[in-house]
Amino acid sequence: MNEAMNNILNSRVPDGPLSEKWQNCKNEMKLVAPNNKRKYDIIVVGTGLAGASAAASLAEMGYNVKAFCYQDSARRAHSIAAQGGINAAKNYPNDGDSVYRLFYDTIKGGDFRARESNVYRLAEVSNNIIDQCVAQGVPFAREYGGLLANRTFGGAQVSRTFYCRGQTGQQLLLGAYSGLMRQVAAGKVQMYSRHEMLDLVVVDGVARGIVCRNMVSGEIETYAAHAVLLCTGGYGNVFYLSTNAKGCNVTAAWRCYKRGAYFANPCYTQIHPTCIPVKGDYQSKLTLMSESLRNDGRVWVPKDVNDSRLPSQIPEDDRDYYLERRYPAFGNMVPRDVASRAAKERCDAGYGVGDSGKAVYLDFKRAIEEQGEQRIREKYGNLFHMYQKITDENPYHVPMRIYPAVHYTMGGLWVDYHLQSTVPGLYVLGEANFSDHGANRLGASALMQGLADGYFVVPYTIGHHLATANLKPVSTAHPQFAAVKEDVENRVRKLLSGKGDRTVQEFHRDLGEIMWNQCGMARSQVGLESAIEKIQELRDQFWNRVYVPGVGEELNQQLEQAGRLADFLEFGELMARDALERNESCGGHFREEYQTEEGEALRDDANYAHVAAWEYTGNDSTAVRHTEPLTYDTVKMTTRSYK
């Protein structure tokens, strides 16, 4: 193990009591004067909640922004798919919520593996997010009196989740997108859609630009700026099957890693308990059924392993509501990692239902009896509709069948309190960074984090960098741009030389299977060691046997996918390595060797209360593991219990 003790990882956490740190930080940061802002160019890669909110806010302040996304429109970023809601500590329901409580739930939900100061700031700015979105015209659900409504989400005992039917991410993103479009019209944002970032340009140790492929013409283009914001989302598609959009990738983050940005906690992935089960080997993605369904749906399996009756014919006494049985305090509302593992445990023990035995029931019978079908339709209509579309079954009459699926990645590029990576001038926002969710993310907190980073954190911290870094003028004429561009062109050429006998999709499925079986819901030393070997073999095979059709100077979707997969094939190994080095179970990271007699996760705070941040050393198999110790001055690290 390459455990380097070092003082490089300076997290720049401000002094003072937890509740005053952000204010202290803001008080001390240097500012860029209003009419100097127009002298600075900022590149924002990604237009999801994090990227769109940052790009719009920075442009409003006067900076010149260039924004990039791989879709044909900024509005299609994957944030659009978020269903359930966004948390905030407004305490409108008067049920005892507070900034502290939201902070505490989030840090506990993360299994005490997140930085206290960051999470507190997140809770602190959560209320501003709701105000900002309402002002943009985001149509949040309301009560009859016209005031904002809330629902409950997993891991919380208060109602603090704001929502727009089952389309909260869509409405929040359209709000941020509308702000972005306003700045495009004002000439402060140049929007580059259908552009994929393929590398980072670092000049004199500072991030100064990017190299992109224009996905329509195929041209490799360079862009220079004073700072680069990476807002490129999560890497869940390393598993091939996930609830992420098909284009989600690790490429942008991975290229930055190879240019010096440390990758933190890559093994922390979230497996969401309520997804529609896999149905065939042609399956291209998995569909989430929002966690909000667990407010009214009850999870169960038959008590008898051999019970093959239809669910409607199984009487109450023969059903095992295993979440209610094991976790009476939280019941069906336990956090995601707990619910997922419990489902896996039942299915592995043979109690699973459906053709594959890899599913459990999510039953609305009681809720419909108590509240009426109409009320359930109002709350979840679009989700029930989607379920029926996909499965051809009517969930108002038969219980849904669900199974856990890869959903979110807590790991990401390491950032300090300012959201700056280990490459000065490279900031990382949203799901692409590692900052706020520790080893497990609570529902409705990713939307909150993306918008917190983009609207209320980076607009302050970026100014400090610009005002203090003493940046020299750099344009794309600088030789470093030509050098990185050449690297990218060589890479594209190498991919296009692949004229073998296997398709990109076939390789991606193979990688996904290795990751899911060995680095998914349960991990072990033996499994992870074999995964690393298998990934290395698969990577060799990929470069020898892949078939990539066409040429580079055209719209070429296979080439795009091949490039992303090539990066996943490198990244997968780092992920397995990180899981192997973390000899404990925490949150979404469950090592079979480390569990209690009851099968609950066994954390090792004495040895692993730290962030693992990996440094690239020029070789895919010898990354160096640095650590950032996690100290808790305000909360006490406890064993997470939802019983």
């Binding site: 806010s57 409003e60 509005r75 309301r142 009859y144 509308s178 479009m181 291209s284 055209e554």
Partner: protein, 264 residues
Amino acid sequence: MISPGKKKLKLTIRVWRQKGSNERGQFRDYLLQGISPDMSFLEMLDILNEQLLDHGEEPVAFDHDCREGICGACGVMINGQAHGPDNETTTCQLHMRRFQDGDTIVIEPWRASAFPVLRDLIVDRSPLDRIMQAGGYVSVNTGQAPDGNCLPVPRHDQESAMDGAACIGCGACVAACKNASAMLFTSAKVSQLAQLPQGQPERAQRVLNMVAQMDAEGFGSCTNTYECEAACPAGVSISHIARLNREYVKASFCSTAEPTIPMK
């Protein structure tokens, strides 16, 4: 029901092939076998593409991302219908159980002069972004917002605003319209913001500018044939077009606002 016993389909896929925006396109027929009725339409296209790659041919290019019916990236004409035969369903949410063994399925890109074809089934929908840039927003800078509960919104208005806000920007309304009009798209945003207190200060200017931009992009006029509503996967109703028309008349005659986008 997940039933392995279901009969697999044999299909002829007649699909539009066009290498680039300046090249001529044509239909090509491909035979597909063993298609499971539980597959989604895009999974069927994935299989077609794997088959083409096996034969060393270039796969069919099509836009897609979320495959959950929400991002609006996917969208093709299927047997002459935008997003295919199902109501309120995007192409990615359409399933093969909707088709019969032996069917020929004709797949084309959106056809509208404002949406040039980039390759095969992919078109350029950037005019929709520019309509949004013309006024599809509330001018509020980050940090200026008052408390979220300071302006109550009657629940009915909020629900009705949400009905318009649900538009996914896929462009099916344009593709379904014989005039290739973007009225349903434009009206959805105008109507959302006209019904919320936050949208009031710019209400008149917004509708004038968004309509002017829509015309400038080369979309056709609305002649009330309602094909857009029938094709819309998000269930956006033509009542929003009626509201846009009222808003437009009101802004033209009862306000001092003038469009700042040059009229065509």
